[in-house]
Amino acid sequence: MKAKVHVFLKPGVLDVQGKAVEGALNGLSTVQGWASVSHVRVGKVLEFDVAATTADEAKAQVKDMCDKLLANTVIESYTVEVA
């Protein structure tokens, strides 16, 4: 089964990358339109195969992986999709 995990910083936690990318998109470019980019958030995405018989089983496994390794739940939250 294919799993896809998105990890973002929790709301309220300073997203230094998002801030920097937004600044670059707004300020560095000479291209029309980029100035209008706002609310940039940068996160991580992981894709992998996981062996499981049902989607629910896979999802439970992947959540466990997120809690233990893939996300730092002190400052990050995650979403899991399996297909």
Binding site: G12, L14, I75
Partner: protein, 583 residues
Amino acid sequence: MTTTTAPKPKSMADYAAEFGLKPDEYQVILDRLGREPNYVELGVFSVMWSEHCSYKSSRLHLKKFPVTGDRVICGPGENAGVIDIDDGQACIFKMESHNHPSYIEPYQGAATGVGGIMRDVFTMGARPVALLNALRFGEPDHPKTKRIVEGVVAGIGGYGNCVGVPTVAGETNFHSGYNGNVLVNAMCVGLADADKIFYSAAPEPGLPVVYFGSKTGRDGIHGATMSSAEFTEDSEEKRPTVQVGDPFAEKLLIEATLELMATGAVAAIQDMGAAGLTSSSVEMAGKGGLGITLDLDKVPQREENMSAYEMMLSESQERMLAILKPGREADGYRVFEKWGLDAAVIGETNTSGRIILTHKGEVVCDLPLAPLSDDAPLYDRPWVEPKCEPELKLADIPAPANLNDALLAMISSPDMSSKRWLWEQYDRHVMADTLADSSTGHDAGMVRVHGTKKALAVTSDCTPRYVLANPYEGGKQAVAEAWRNLTAVGADPIAITDNLNFGSPEKPETMGQIVRAIDGMAEACRELVFPVVSGNVSLYNETNGVSIPPTPTVGAVGLLKDYDQRAGYNSLKAGQVLLLIGA
């Protein structure tokens, strides 16, 4: 004025307890004010009277340290200590802990610790030139240790490397006593012109108060009170929002601050550390014997609908507060714009002797400054003579059966084994003035004083095992070892900073360790003419009622007048004579 924005059912006394104020402390607040404080005011009191800001348990004993000397330009009490290194140059340095945050979120905790100590140094006008770190972790095979070590080391490197200050020395110990409470002590050393040192006291009324750096968010609210509270298992759940460091912002902040200072516009300046806006504004106005008003609507804010309470207690990183000379705002804005920093004039100094905060058109805090700092509680905590282990007699120690095995056991022990894995993650060479670092075979780090033949030697030392066995002797030993490490590279030892990490001062046993370790350190400092010019105290380092081994870390700085005279153990050759000096 309005009173409070807090939800109703709880009384102010309840909140006081929640914020870590003892009932008698709260009573003093009521007596001094002649009324109940509101929620914001209570927040301000709670951080200013926290152990972290007020040093209420340690202040009496810290007075034992010698703090003056021929080369001391500024001793404890400012953001960092300042010493004279000849030719009109000064060295500014300090050490600080970030223990609790590093346990909760090792990477960010350690990273923001490095950021905080650098701000203490450049806020006085110095360019940071060297970083050190003293780390104490739990046992290597404790389930949490590996993750914490990796995170802490990556965080220290991640921050210092990016800012571009070399991390040249440090120390690392492992002990089960730190399983639930690691210690991360970071030291920063900077260089300035001796006649261009900046202080925090507001010099006169009517001056603009300027905020610059990153925006304020809801980071680490109540960090100062938390770092002064004992840990329990479930405080891992109740953690406040963790502060995230932005070393890039810090780099810009260093350049902007030094550039702003060079324009001559700065009258006084202070970084926003623990309890950010509260402690910086209270201290600047209080030290100057003045008053201050702040309009919180002007504070650059990262999040929407922030309350006055949240802004005053936020520990968002990479922020500074400066008081400018009359009419110099334009100089400030030119510099801030160049470096892309948020900035705003948020208030003014005055003669009121009070801190007055307005938010959304209403006065949300109006407090006299004196009780916040001068009258902060001061405790002579009861203490008992700590239990010491009996002195070891050489004759009682059995000789090892096999010397080779003994040697191998020693050098493969966690404390003695190579720390290469760790310091290879630290940029030790940026600034192109490093003469000695963790990898070169010297007892202290050494950096050139840029453009001269002089060099600074820096070291950090403490052997917690010794202090646990005998706090007085262990305290002496830490100072003496720092002295030896400096002399061993050919430097003249000048002064020290310290970071006193202990358990709860409310326990007479622990208080005894604090008192006796300070006695020992003070004794060694007097004997060696090695004054203490800055320092930091971290108490309540306990988990489930068990204290860490007492760990008074000593950070020391020495001067080499000619670095060609430096020495190390990296140039040993076969056939040379070994001399043992001392007992």
